[in-house]
Symmetry: C2
Subunit: 281 residues, 2 copies
C-alpha cells in the first residue's frame, strides 16, 4: 500500500541528546543507572539495558556508581539525595524541560502560585512540581477548583501539550478568576511542529499510524490530535503491534512518530507496510 511519512517526526534534540549521553557514559563506566526509563520508548530502553543501563524507580535503590537524570528531569529533592550519597550524577534533562523547572522556581520565588498545565502522573510534571512549594497541576477544567479566584497565578505548561489545549485551559483559568496571571509559553516548538505536520497528513490518508511508547506523552498527544481529525488513527509501539486486519481495503496510510521513537522503528514499519499485500492479510 501507499505510505506517507509526516514531514516532521521521530527523535527530537532532547531525546537524541539523552541517548548520546547514556551511550557515552556506558562506554566509560560500569554501574550506570537511569532514574526511571531514560526516554519513553521500550525498544530504546531495552537496547540501552543490554548495553548495561540499569533503570531504577527510586533514588533509594542506588548505593553507588553513576546516575543519569533522564530527559524528563528529576526533582531537586531527588538530586540532593543522590548528592548526599556521593553518587556521580550525569544530567540528561532536556534543555526545554530544564527551562520549565527554572521558570517554576522563579515564579514561586516571585510569590506566584505555580500552575502546571499537564498530566500530574508524568515524570516531567512531577520534576517541575518538585521545583516549587506552592504548586497546582491542572489537567483539565475540573482541577481548577483547587485555585482561589483571587490568586496570583504563575502558569507553565508541560512541554508536550498542544497549543490548543494550552489555549483552552488558559481560557478556563481566565473564566475561573485571578488577581494576576503570568503565563510563560513553555511548549516545545518541535513538538508543536510535529503535531501540525501529523494533523495535516492524517487529513489526507485512509488510516493513520502514530508510532511510539504508550507512556510517551508527546506520542499520545499526537495520536489524540490525529484521532480528532481521522477516526482511523492507531497508536502503536512498532510493526509487531499492528493488527493487519486494520489495513485491509485501505489505499493510503500515514505514519508519524513521537519524539522518542527511533528512526529504525519508523523505517521498519514503513518498509513492511509498503510491502504489505491485502491477500496476505
Amino acid at each position: 500500500m501507499k505510505v506517507v511519512v509526516a514531514e516532521k517526526c521521530g527523535f527530537c534534540h532532547g531525546v537524541r541528546n539523552a541517548i548520546t549521553i547514556a551511550e557515552k557514559v556506558l562506554a566509560q563506566e560500569k554501574d550506570v543507572y537511569s532514574l526511571g526509563p531514560i526516554i519513553h520508548n521500550p525498544d530504546v530502553v531495552k537496547r540501552l539495558a543490554e548495553a548495561g543501563l540499569k533503570t531504577v524507580d527510586r533514588v533509594e535503590e542506588v548505593q553507588s556508581g553513576t546516575v543519569i537524570i533522564r530527559s524528563h528531569g528529576a526533582a531537586p529533592e531527588q538530586i540532593a539525595k543522590l548528592q548526599d550519597k556521593g553518587i556521580h550524577i550525569v544530567d540528561a534533562t532536556c534543555v526545554l524541560v530544564k527551562r520549565v523547572q527554572q521558570i517554576a522556581k522563579h515564579l514561586a520565588g516571585d510569590g506566584y502560585r505555580v500552575v502546571i498545565i499537564g498530566d500530574e502522573n508524568h515524570p516531567e510534571v512531577q520534576a517541575v512540581m518538585g521545583c516549587a512549594t506552592d504548586v497546582a497541576v491542572v489537567g483539565d477544567e475540573s482541577d481548577l477548583q483547587n485555585l482561589a479566584k483571587n490568586d496570583r497565578l504563575g502558569v507553565v505548561c508541560q512541554t508536550t501539550q498542544s497549543p490548543e489545549h494550552l489555549r483552552k485551559m488558559l481560557a478556563s483559568i481566565c473564566s475561573h478568576g485571578f488577581s494576576e496571571l503570568k503565563v510563560i509559553n513553555t511548549l516545545c516548538k518541535e513538538a508543536v511542529k510535529r503535531q501540525e505536520s501529523a494533523v495535516r497528513l492524517c487529513k489526507q490518508v485512509d488510516i493513520m499510524f502514530v508510532l511510539g511508547g504508550v507512556q510517551s506523552a508527546n506520542t499520545r498527544k499526537l495520536a489524540e490530535l490525529c484521532r480528532e481529525v481521522n477516526k482511523q488513527t492507531y497508536h502503536l509501539e512498532n510493526w509487531k503491534g499492528l493488527d493487519k486486519n486494520l489495513v485491509l481495503g485501505k489505499n493510503v496510510a500515514g505514519v508519524t512518530a513521537g519524539a522518542s521513537t527511533p528512526d529504525w522503528i519508523i523505517t521498519e514499519f514503513v518498509k513492511n507496510l509498503e510491502a504489505f499485500d491485502d491477500r496476505e492479510g
Copy 2:
C-alpha cells in the same frame, strides 16, 4: 407599574470622590477647569458648570487657575504640560484607574509590550496609553493582528469592561500566540458587581432601563450585558429621554444605573415610572 431597582447601582467611590473634590475646589477657588467632562454624566456636568467648573478639551486652552484631573485620569504628558505652565493641578483620578496607569508603566519598564483590552477612544484608555511607550489597544479580535506571535505581552484591562469580555479576549490572545503573557486583572470589582446585579434583575422583568450618560463606558457595558439577556433593554440618560410607548402593556420594569449616574436621576425615574398609567401613555 411595578418598578424594581438593581441591588447595586449608581455612584461608585471614584465618581463620588471626583464630585466631592470638584465641589470643594469650586467653593475655594475661581478659574477652575476640568480636562474633559469630570465624569460621563451630562446632568452632573451641567450642575458643576453652573457652580463655575469650565470643561476644556485640551491643555492648550488653559492659561492659569486650577485644573481638576477627571476620574478617568490624564496622560503624564498632559500633566507635565500643565506643570510647565505653573498651573495648579488637583488630581481626581479614580484610584483604580491610577492603578492601571502604574501597572502599565511597570509592565513597560519590565520590557513587556503593553496591551490594553478596552476602547481606544475612551479617555481612561487614552490616559493609560500615555503611561507606556510600546502600547497596543485591543478592542476586539480584529485588533490582535497588531501583536507579534512571539511577543512578551503585559496585559491590563479598561476598568469598566466585563469579566466575560476579558476572558474572551484573553482566550483570543492565547490562540494568537505569545512567548510570555502577564495579565493583571484591573477590572473594577464594583463595576462587576453592578453588572452581575443588573443581569440578574433584567431576567425577571418585562422591560429594563439602564440610566446614565451615553458616553459612560460602564453604563454602556451594563446596557450591552442586559440586552444579551433581555432584548427589551433601553439605555437612557434620564426620565426625559423615555419614549412612553415603550412601557405600554408592560407590568414590571427593572432599573439600573451607571457608576456616574446620580441618585436623584434614579429616584426621579423610578417615582415617575411607578406613577405612570397606561391610559396616560
